[in-house]
């Protein structure tokens, strides 16, 4: 089965990180993705630009409302995702436990 590992959390530490900290964190992500590849569990993923770059499109009763900013103006925002193959939710959570960020795990339909 496939699971979605969403990188979530407060975006401020990343926004405030210097080049060395960013380099170190990218290296951690590189190791995490290499581990997934080695387990043949990696099904791709992307880093997303920070939430202030978001645009939200809402449709209601024939009207379309376009606003700047993310859907939810919360401290914790989605900053990227990885799709993984795992036998169960518990295995997906085990993989998620090695991800270098806070993470929300969801089962993929179909």
């Amino acid at each position: 089965m496939k699971y979605l590992l969403l990188a979530v959390g407060d975006e401020r530490p990343w926004a405030e990180a210097g080049p060395q900290e960013r380099h170190a964190l990218y290296a951690e992500w590189g190791r995490f993705e290499a581990m997934l590849a080695e387990r043949r569990a990696h099904h791709g993923g992307f880093e997303l630009a920070p939430s202030p770059t978001a645009t939200t499109v809402r449709k209601h009763g024939g009207q379309v409302l376009i606003t700047d900013g993310p859907y939810a103006e919360t401290v914790e925002q989605i900053s990227g995702y990885v799709v993984v193959e795992a036998a169960s939710m518990e295995e997906a959570v085990e993989l998620a436990g090695q991800m270098p960020s806070d993470v929300h795990v969801r089962e993929i339909a179909g």
């Binding site: 496939k2 979605l4 969403l6 979530v8 959390g9 380099h23 990218y26 590189g30 791709g44 992307f46 880093e47 997303l48 630009a49 939430s51 770059t53 978001a54 645009t55 939200t56 499109v57 809402r58 449709k59 209601h60 379309v64 376009i66 993310p70 859907y71 939810a72 919360t74 914790e76 989605i78 990227g80 995702y81 799709v83 939710m89 997906a92 959570v93 998620a96 436990g97 960020s101 806070d102 993470v103 929300h104 795990v105 969801r106 089962e107 993929i108 339909a109 179909g110």
Partner: protein, 114 residues
């Protein structure tokens, strides 16, 4: 440029829909997917099972705190996403308008990192 279209829908909206309604929603997404393919704009996408089965791990010190259930206390939850190729933000917004979901958050994808 690649953009993520994050789709938000009310919790239970899918589960409470009749089989006919579900088939209609699926058909609309198939039409939208066909539109993306026709334009060479489809990069990827996934539909998700309900948020009540989600698991969140938050790190604090060396420990990971596990929470079962939805990630955020919002009315709508992430129900799926598309990754699309678009010339610019306006083109991505146009695709979001064509997407058969009431709430679509458009976010640029970071294409070079490290």
């Amino acid at each position: 440029m690649k953009y993520a279209l994050l789709l938000y829908s009310a919790t239970g909206a899918w589960a409470e829909a009749s089989e006919q309604e579900q088939a209609a929603i699926m058909a609309e997404h198939e039409k939208f997917t066909a539109l993306l393919v026709e334009r060479g704009a489809l990069v990827g996408g996934e539909a998700l099972h309900g948020p009540e089965q989600g698991v969140t791990l938050r790190r604090s010190g060396g420990d990971a705190l596990r929470t079962d259930g939805p990630f955020a206390e919002t009315v709508e939850h992430l129900g799926g996403f598309y990754i699309v190729e678009a010339a610019d933000l306006d083109a991505a917004i146009e695709l979001a308008r064509a997407c058969p979901e009431e709430i679509v958050e458009v976010r640029p994808v970071v294409e070079s990192s490290g």
